[in-house]
């Protein structure tokens, strides 16, 4: 490693590599010269105007920064010469080459040209080029060697272009987009263009194979003396090595393009299939809406849509809801499944109890009216009457309790219970004789 070189680069780095503002200024000047807007030897006014362009573009507001813009440019990039009373400025060769490199990097011709075109324009090998070692050497130095970098650069750009598209495609599939189908269509267009490049690549391979076989077939022609043959072989090997290297690079690019295109097509097919399925779902919904009716607040589908069932075993035991608050916290308690059968039986029990209470109250009223009117009540007779009408043993029992409770608290009514058994034929029960009447004061 040449240490002096590294030391020198380290020392001159700030002068050799301009800052963003200065770099834009040089490229801007270079472009103006290329397009003929200013002369190759331009004046101070041209420089000032271009500085204004950069200042406006970068939205630089302070005069100090504007002033610094030209001052930052080192003499590696431009030279000022005094011609008479005026100053003339021109860009250095270093500046021009630097600009060309930058432009080549950010605006590669790849977007317009196929690799095959670059090959065809830069590497034409004519029969005259193989006439003798001098003509072949001329071709090697003036066509092959300059073209080599151009072609390498082109394949690198193509590789990056394909990689960028694939990355964008991956991003597209991950992120939300408003109209994915449309976007995918636009990507299909890009990949169609890249596929065109593939055709160019295949043509390139054919072209370079032709070139190589042309060179190889001329081998005999150069075998006249050892020195010529060695020179020819050296150049042939270099061409062969270069073509081999290009082969590998373009096959990798081609594989990438094919794979990405295939993936994209599959995706588009899936989308089309999904779209078709969605149309069917929409139609099904429309049919259901069109032919359904609302019957007393219930939506009814036509019978042609068969009822479908889901497995469902209800949970009978009511449990404290298991809520995982790590995920959500509901404002309302979770509604539980309940046993409908149990609920109905409870309801029936309640109704039966109510019926008994209602009947008891009715008989108590009736009997009290009788007692109030001075009639002596023989409960065992009433017992039969109540059983006959209510057909429920609970009712006369409740009536009996009711009477005892009521009459015990009253001074004007008496209850006499004799321990004389009265046997009933029905229900297999026996009563004590009980009488009730009002005491007249």
């Amino acid at each position: 490693m040449d240490k002096d070189l590294i030391i020198s680069l380290n020392k001159n780095y700030a002068d050799l590599i301009p800052q963003k503002e200065s770099l834009l200024l040089i490229v801007w000047l270079h472009q103006k010269i290329e397009k003929g807007y200013i002369n190759e030897d331009f004046g101070q006014k041209d420089l000032d105007d271009t500085i204004d362009d950069v200042v406006e573009f970068l939205n630089i507001t302070t005069d100090k920064n504007k002033e610094n813009l030209s001052k930052k440019l080192s003499n590696h990039f431009y030279i000022t010469e005094r011609v008479g009373n005026k100053y003339q400025i021109h860009l250095t060769v270093f500046a021009k080459e630097f600009c060309k490199l930058l432009i080549q990097e950010v605006q590669p011709e790849i977007k317009k040209l196929e690799l095959f075109h670059v090959f065809k324009r830069t590497l034409p090998l004519l029969d005259e080029d193989l006439l003798n070692i001098e003509t072949f050497s001329y071709w090697f130095k003036n066509n092959f060697q300059p073209a080599r970098n151009e072609i390498y650069s082109h394949t690198e750009k193509l590789n990056n272009e394909v990689a960028d598209r694939i990355n964008e495609l991956s991003t597209l599939l991950k992120t939300e987009t408003e109209n994915p189908k449309e976007q995918i269509n636009s990507y299909m267009e890009i990949f169609t263009l890249l596929e065109k490049q593939t055709t160019g690549i295949i043509n390139t391979i054919d072209y370079k194979n032709d070139t190589l076989s042309k060179i190889k077939s001329a081998k005999e022609h150069f075998a006249t003396d050892e020195e010529t043959f060695d020179e020819f072989s050296r150049m042939q090997n270099e061409v062969e090595y270069f073509f081999g290297s290009i082969d590998r690079r373009i096959m990798v690019i081609n594989d990438k393009i094919q794979l990405a295109s295939k993936r994209l097509r599959n995706l588009l097919d899936t989308l089309k299939h999904k779209q078709l399925f969605k149309i069917k779902i929409e139609k099904l919904l429309l049919l259901m809406l069109k032919y359904s009716r609302n019957e007393k607040g219930e939506i009814k589908l036509p019978d042609v849509f068969q009822r479908k069932y889901l497995p469902f075993i209800p949970v009978k035991f009511i449990a404290i809801p298991k809520v995982d608050f790590q995920f959500y916290a509901k404002a309302e308690p979770q509604q539980q499944e309940y046993d409908k059968h149990h609920e109905q039986s409870e309801r029936r029990k309640g109704l039966a109890l109510l019926e008994i209470q209602e009947a008891t109250a009715k008989w108590l009223d009736k009997m009290n009216t009788e007692i109030e009117s001075g009639v002596k009540i023989e409960f065992d007779e009433w017992f039969d009457k109540i059983i006959e009408q209510e057909n429920n043993l609970e009712v006369p029992i409740q009536v009996c309790f009711g009477l005892i409770e009521e009459h015990n608290q009253s001074d004007q009514k008496t209850i006499s219970i004799q321990k004389e058994e009265v046997t009933k034929n029905k229900n297999d029960i026996t009563l004590w004789r009980m009488q009730m009447q009002t005491i007249r004061s």
Partner: protein
Amino acid sequence: MENANANYPFLNSEQATKYFADADIALKQGRHIQDFGTDIRLFSFIDEFYDKGLEDYYKQFFGMNLVSDKSDNGKFYYLDFPDDGKGKFGKENRSKELEDDKVIFAILFLNLYKERFFEQKEFTWQELEQIFKEGEHKELWQNILFSKVKQNYTPREEQDVKDKVRKILSDFEKLGWIVFKNQEEIHFEVLPSIERISRLYGDVIDNLESIEEYLNNEQLS
């Protein structure tokens, strides 16, 4: 017991002790279990042991299919009847009918889910209202929801419909087809398992033309 467990290796696992009962109850209640929210652990358990005896277990003892299904990027599991009957779920109180209103709403949500291919599948009551009141088929919606088409509905009518939709969504949440973000306001996310409705109605979806023809003829006669 050990021999029996050899056929159902999942029973020997530590996860089974933790998650099998919950997963089993959920599946038998018709739930669709997916890699989402509170079901994550149950999903992981089923996913891991599906091929390790779990699928066979339901086939062998319940005559049911434990189905592994997929929708776009979402995988989910559910119990389904076999082709030739209902297995052990054929007895009374072991299955439930999907009511007509739920069918229509499930198809609507599937449709909305498919519409949002790359976006979030979240919906609000306002969006549903827009479908019912301003959408392409607003009259049809109003007809089945309000039983009549009017310019304006009373607050009571509006509330009844909102309650009805909330109830349907609540049942769908139990099935694992949606998840509420806010139940009161009706803000929810449709989950991949909504795809199940297309499996249930696959025969109908494949024969839409003949069904339409039948319905048209019915209407004419």
